[in-house]
Symmetry: C2
């Protein structure tokens, strides 16, 4: 059977998704519970998140023989409060959470109140105004399309940095700003690099029409490093028709 778990986590106290020896990671925590329930499994994940990055909707697939409902209930009992299992289902045969994903949506939260909201401190980067949101959106619009994002990616030798960004926009929400970006896939630190760059544009330190030039440079120095991990959340993973719709999400 190909099982699929849709889950969420507060990434604050994890060293990211990927299992690492002697580190508390989300994959390590999940696989430890699964191993006790169904025997050794290797999970495949839709989006490998870095240390401190959260997920509202993450998807995992693996092969095992188990009753999904019972597994769901057991996982909910065993996993720590920082990890929530939305749903466990028997997915279409051969389903891969990673390779079948059509788009990944990320959301980045900026808290722009003068005094940071302590209830959002774990999930939002505190940045004070003024920020020129129109300029940020103009610069963001030029990130859309199939392009080489080397200027926004941590270098990975021998791997392409061409990706397809479907949409990228800022909206006012929750006493701050929210950046929603959807793409086929993202390279390492791409979304956090977008945010760092766009905040510099919002501050007026970089021009709103400079995105094509930054992309053409294919050099990380042209962008502005990466925004803090804790503001970033993997928001939604979408699969083509034929696979299950996402569950009801908070």
């Amino acid at each position: 059977m190909t099982l699929r778990i849709d889950l969420a986590y507060d990434g604050t106290d994890f060293r990211g998704w990927a299992r690492q020896p002697d580190q508390r990671t989300v994959q390590g925590t999940l696989e430890e519970a699964l191993t006790r329930l169904v025997g050794p499994v290797e999970t495949v994940v839709a989006g490998r998140t870095d240390a401190g990055v959260h997920a509202r909707h993450q998807v995992v697939s693996f092969r095992a023989d188990a009753e999904p409902g019972a597994l769901e209930a057991s996982l909910r009992r065993m996993l720590p409060p920082a990890v929530a299992v939305h749903r466990v289902i028997d997915e279409a045969d051969g389903f891969s959470a990673r390779f079948d994903a059509e788009t990944r949506a990320y959301r980045y939260h900026l808290d722009t109140r003068p005094a940071a909201d302590p209830f959002r401190a774990r999930f939002a980067w505190h940045v004070t105004r003024p920020l020129d949101v129109d300029a940020m959106n103009r610069a963001a619009a030029d990130l859309v399309g199939e392009q080489d994002f080397a200027s926004f990616c941590r270098r990975a030798e021998g791997r392409t940095s061409v990706r397809r960004v479907v949409s990228a926009a800022w909206t006012e929400a929750d006493g701050g700003l929210v950046f929603d970006v959807v793409g086929s896939a993202f390279c390492h630190q791409q979304v956090r690099s977008f945010v760092a760059y766009l905040v510099e544009v919002g501050r007026g330190r970089l021009p709103a029409d400079g995105t094509p030039e930054v992309l053409a440079a294919r050099d990380r120095v042209a962008a502005r490093g990466a925004a803090p991990a804790h503001g970033l959340t993997l928001w939604l993973v979408a699969y083509p028709v034929g696979f299950a719709e996402p569950p009801d999400l908070p």
Copy 2:
């Protein structure tokens, strides 16, 4: 000058409001910063919160000579992210955050999703359905009025447990239930005892019309202990006309 601070905090990592030797408390953290800025001060607080209880709106008063705007900016720089200073003002002479408070509103969050939302885990008690919300509201309505709440108070020798509750009601919100209660003042653990009692009513383990009997017993055993601290937030402190309105709050 009588200075007033309106503030908020995530109480998770504090041993409550009140200063205690060798403990990290909100009052201790705030007074340490104030002492460095304006010299030794003794603060008076609107609502002393227990370990793990949060405040969206808390009010503090003290006497000192300082420019409120500069003090506000300095405190924001010095305090940890778990504490937010909404505002510092020069309040009416002789103002007491405690004795001038007219009402205190508390909010208690229940997360009733099958899988607890990890982004609310610090601020909501996870309780699964079914819960009979109508029954909970009928039982809550009988808590309103000036009554002896000894059944819902931790015993304090020689002190009255008579309080005035202005309103008490549950509403569906945020994938769960929210309990809003407003009163002149509350005795120790009163709101958390209300919640534990009302959840038992929601479960059908206590009758919806039993509140008068529980109150008459004047015995904590008649209620049902206290709900966890982390679901509780001091929501709003109100003062009579003549004192400043609350600031813009998240």
